[in-house]
């Protein structure tokens, strides 16, 4: 018994390990976390998969055995108890009981016995009469189920553990130990995986995963095992027709569901169904669960815009997310590594409650409705551009325009290391919500042949306004051309660099002002020119258009830190989702549930049914009542008292009550 209890505690403590140390992670992670020195012993101890470690299973086995032994030991006794009334108890033993009462009987024994029987019946006791030479002994009892409870609760433990064992991966572990099966460590196509790493569809119990893109099918799943995996063959092939995802107005996910078709390999019978979280689909004994989802390789179309060249025309590019393709940019061989395509990006720009303000806090505390304000930034695609040297930059481009203060931009984020946040370039959209306007302007700004034209037109205006005249005009045109050139070499940064190198400290402020003025003037004429070149009529510059031009200057300037000479503008997409399934076959399940029922019944009986036994011995002038209970507590006392009163009533008045 002490053994059993210590076992309970030890198992509990052992179980803790697996909860503090994340289980079944990729081995490199552990090496990284603990270092080589500790990794070895930890792995040897099976700490990375405690609950399947041999020593842990051994402990469970002990638990089962000891419980079984215990049941075995108690069974005969319990059955005897449940049957017998102990009607052969000797008076001596009855008198030895803690709860007994001896009375002088005033009435006839037979009559008294009648009443006693009646009383005990009322109290729900079953009894047996036993005539003996020294009188009549009535042995009664109630609540034998209590003893049964012990059996139920304990056999439940055994049943549950056996069920668990049936579903556990013990057989597989043994086969691996014996070298019959072998964990697959390589990352190769499923078809090339050798038989010793494949498990037949006859496998009694398994739990594995498969990831399917919409429209694709599979007839195997993967069981991960330590640092590798096994391939489990299925009796059917499973095909993902479509994956659905829905959101609440608050942005949280509302529904994940997969429409699938399951075709039985043997019969060719097709079962269609929908798998949802909490609603698995069960096909001939195998349960299919919704476990994850993602981008399954969506078809994307881009317009490739040159950041720096003279051309304002894009080239088309087709791509598929989750794939890599080579791309030749102005003679430089690059690779585009496309990552996740996201059909929507729901951002929560929730209003933070200002702390300190008590009234506000109380106000909030009364509101059950979250003051969330969520915004969908629309589709986005993430990708890397890798050059010949293997240097890569990561980009995040949004398809839909981003609105700010009534103006619209296309956002493109860039970063050079993975952890870093994206730095965004905002590309202003023209009046028909296109990039073209900006790109045409950009082309003019970076076209040396255009600069003199822009400069001349600016000078004309200036002269016309009388700002400059005769001799200064040439100088003016030169400096405009010069500023545009500098700018086209590196944006504002280039101008600053020049100031830093060439212009004395005290003059810089003033000179910088002039440059900016010139640039701001020049961009207007550059814009007119760009429209002419595009065969569009010039437009009068108003507030809104002026801001567009300023935004354009900023964007062009930012393009010099963009890190790639082109901008991939997402234009259209055809989404292909993927869905992750978990498939399980667990024959032990029903056994475990059966055990659970037994357990609850057992515990209930053990705690809430009390087994009481009462003996009443009646002889001429004598009545002896004794009570025994499986539990000695206040209740036993009250029970005893009620019976003592009853017996006293039956026995009649006592001259001096002896106990």
């Amino acid at each position: 018994m002490r053994f059993a209890i210590s076992l309970l505690v030890i198992v509990a403590v052992a179980a803790i390990i697996g909860t503090v140390l994340q289980q079944n992670q990729p081995y490199p992670d552990y090496v990284f976390e603990f270092g080589d020195f500790w990794f070895q012993p930890f792995q040897w101890l099976g700490l990375f998969d405690v609950y399947h470690a041999s020593w842990f299973l051994l402990m469970l086995a002990f638990l089962v055995v000891s419980t079984s032994v215990c049941i075995y030991r108690h069974l005969p006794g319990i059955l005897r108890d449940i049957r017998s009334y102990r009607e052969h108890a000797s008076l001596k033993s009855l008198r030895a009981m803690a709860h007994h009462q001896e009375l002088t009987l005033q009435t006839a024994p037979a009559a008294a016995l009648e009443q006693v029987q009646l009383w005990l019946q009322q109290r729900g006791y079953r009894y047996k009469l036993h005539a003996r030479e020294d009188g009549q002994l009535l042995a009664a009892k109630k609540g034998s189920m209590q003893r049964l409870g012990y059996l139920l609760a304990h056999s439940a433990i055994v049943v549950i553990c056996l069920g668990g064992l049936l579903d556990g991966n013990l057989p597989l572990k043994l086969q691996t130990e014996l070298g019959i099966k072998q964990v697959e460590l390589r990352n190769v196509p499923q078809s090339q995986i050798p038989p010793q790493s494949r498990l037949s569809e006859g496998n009694l119990s398994f739990r594995g995963n498969i990831n399917l893109a919409e429209g694709t099918a599979a007839d195997v799943i993967f069981l991960n095992a330590g640092r590798g995996y096994f391939v489990q063959e299925l009796p059917f092939s499973i095909r993902l027709k479509q994956f659905h995802i829905e959101h609440y107005s608050t942005g949280q996910p509302k529904l994940f569901a997969s429409d699938i078709e399951v075709m039985d390999r043997a019969t060719g019978k097709v079962t269609a169904g929908t798998v949802k979280v909490n609603h698995p689909l069960i096909v001939n004994g195998i349960a299919i669960y919704q476990s994850s989802f993602g981008d399954g390789g969506s078809h994307l179309q881009f317009a490739v815009w040159d950041w720096h060249g003279k051309s304002a025309k894009p080239v088309e590019l087709k791509a598929t997310s989750q794939t890599t393709q080579s791309f030749d940019w102005q003679g430089a061989p690059l690779t585009l590594e496309f990552g996740d395509f996201r059909p929507f990006n729901i951002e929560n720009i929730g209003a933070e409650p200002q702390p300190g303000d008590m009234a506000k806090l109380l106000q909030d505390a009364r509101q059950v409705k979250a003051q969330k304000n969520v915004k969908n930034l629309g589709p986005s695609i993430q990708f890397k551009v890798r050059d010949g040297q293997g240097q890569a930059r990561e980009y995040l481009n949004y398809l839909a325009p981003f609105e700010s203060e009534g103006r619209y931009y296309l956002m493109s984020g860039v970063r050079s290391e993975v952890a870093a946040p994206f730095a965004f370039v905002r590309i202003p959209l023209d009046e028909d919500f296109k990039v073209d306007g900006f790109m045409q302007l950009r082309a003019v700004l970076s076209d040396p042949n255009a600069w003199p034209v822009v400069a001349r037109r600016m000078a004309d205006k200036a002269e016309h306004d009388g700002a400059i005249s005769g001799p200064f005009r040439k100088e003016f045109e030169q400096s405009v051309g010069w500023v545009l050139q500098r700018y086209s070499e590196g944006g504002f940064a280039a101008l600053e660099r020049f100031l830093g190198d060439r212009v004395p400290e005290d003059k810089r402020q003033a000179v910088a002002q002039t440059y900016i003025k010139l640039l701001q003037g020049a961009v207007i004429d550059a814009w007119d020119l760009s429209r002419e070149r595009a065969g569009e009529a010039p437009l009068a510059v108003d507030e809104k258009r002026y801001r567009f031009l300023m935004d354009s200057l900023v964007a062009v300037s930012a393009s010099f830190d963009y890190g790639s000479g082109f901008y991939l503008q997402p234009q259209s997409f055809q989404e292909v989702k993927s869905s992750g399934f978990q498939l399980t076959r667990s024959p032990g399940k029903d056994l475990v549930y059966l055990g659970s029922v037994l357990l609850v019944l057992g515990i209930f009986c053990m705690f809430y049914i009390r087994e009481n036994r009462i003996w009443v011995w009646v002889a001429e002038g004598r009545l002896l009542m004794a009570l025994s209970s499986n539990r000695r507590d206040a209740l036993t006392e009250t029970e005893f008292d009620t019976h003592r009163l009853a017996m006293a009533g039956i026995a009649g008045p006592q001259e001096d009550s002896q106990t």
């Binding site: 994940f256 059950v368 705690f607």
Partner: protein
Amino acid sequence: MSTSTLAAKPLSKAAQPFWRDLRLGDHLFAAFVLLVAGIVFNRYHAAMDGYEQAILAGATLALIALGWFWKSVRVFFPVAGLLALGGIALYGGDLARGQSAFWLKYALASQSAAMWMCVLFFLATLVYWGGLLRRSATLEAIASGLTWAAAGAAVVWFFVRWYEGYLIGPDIGHVPVSNLYEVFILFCLITSLMYLYYEERFATRRMGAFVLLVVSAAVGFILWYTFDRQAHEIQPLIPALQSWWMKIHVPANFVGYGSFALAAMLGVAQLLVAKGWLASRLPAYETIGEVMYRAIAVGFLFFTIATILGAMWAADAWGGYWSWDPKETWALIVWLNYAAWLHVRLVKGWRGNVLAWWAVIGLLVTTFAFLGVNMFLAGLHSYGGL
């Protein structure tokens, strides 16, 4: 509930089938509960799947049984229930009224009710201690009343919040047992009700001072969680939680947690008595031990059921009834711990300080299973994250 065979009051003279013992009050109560359940059913059965209808039926019967077994409930639930209905009626289908209508704003809106609950529990704790230290039966009676009121507020909170969810959005409403904030209030409700039951059964209010301490701790957490984290806002259910299992798994669990917490506080009281502190004021050492045992017995039964329900839910949601997920595993640890506790008491017949200490430590283990896991350990079961 099933502890009726434990009744410490003298048994009625002749043991007749229980329904013969039922009085008019019992029948009225039953009728009332059935009526309400009936109304709920024909109003909402369209929105309930078969399981949920079964749960409604089960809950109805359970509540009637509870009322018959513990008579005070026959008054408590109708009163609290009617207040809740009043609140719901005041809303008249418009959430905004929660901030304008007087009775909602200051009493019956779920969050107002929650605040009342917090205040009342704090008061009850103080008054219980006052009663204990000044040996004043009056104060203890008042404290007991305050505790009832606080529990009532929690019941109002529960039903009104449930309704408010649907006012926010038909797809957002759900029974409020889905996140840490909600279950904490559930915890306060269950713990205090269980205490009130034992208070009546053992005809002593002396243990309230200790039991209410743990409730007050929970209340403290609730306040922090509300004001610092806005945790009280009603969130829609993520797919993993959209299951009728939740409706029974969570409450069952909290009967367990509640009684374990209660037992631990009694353990503390018992240890003090053993030291001779407050000994003259607290109930007898054995009595405390007895109540402690019963609390753990009830808790253990419900915790077992809850764990099994959890396994069955997992079998639906995660693809396996047992995944050795941290939450599951800690539930097992708690379970084994109390199984061992019960063994040494029932089998080895242990009594006294060791068990008391063990019960206190048991609460630490339980608390970790309840909170610590969500805070410190990653896992499938990270819904109630802080």
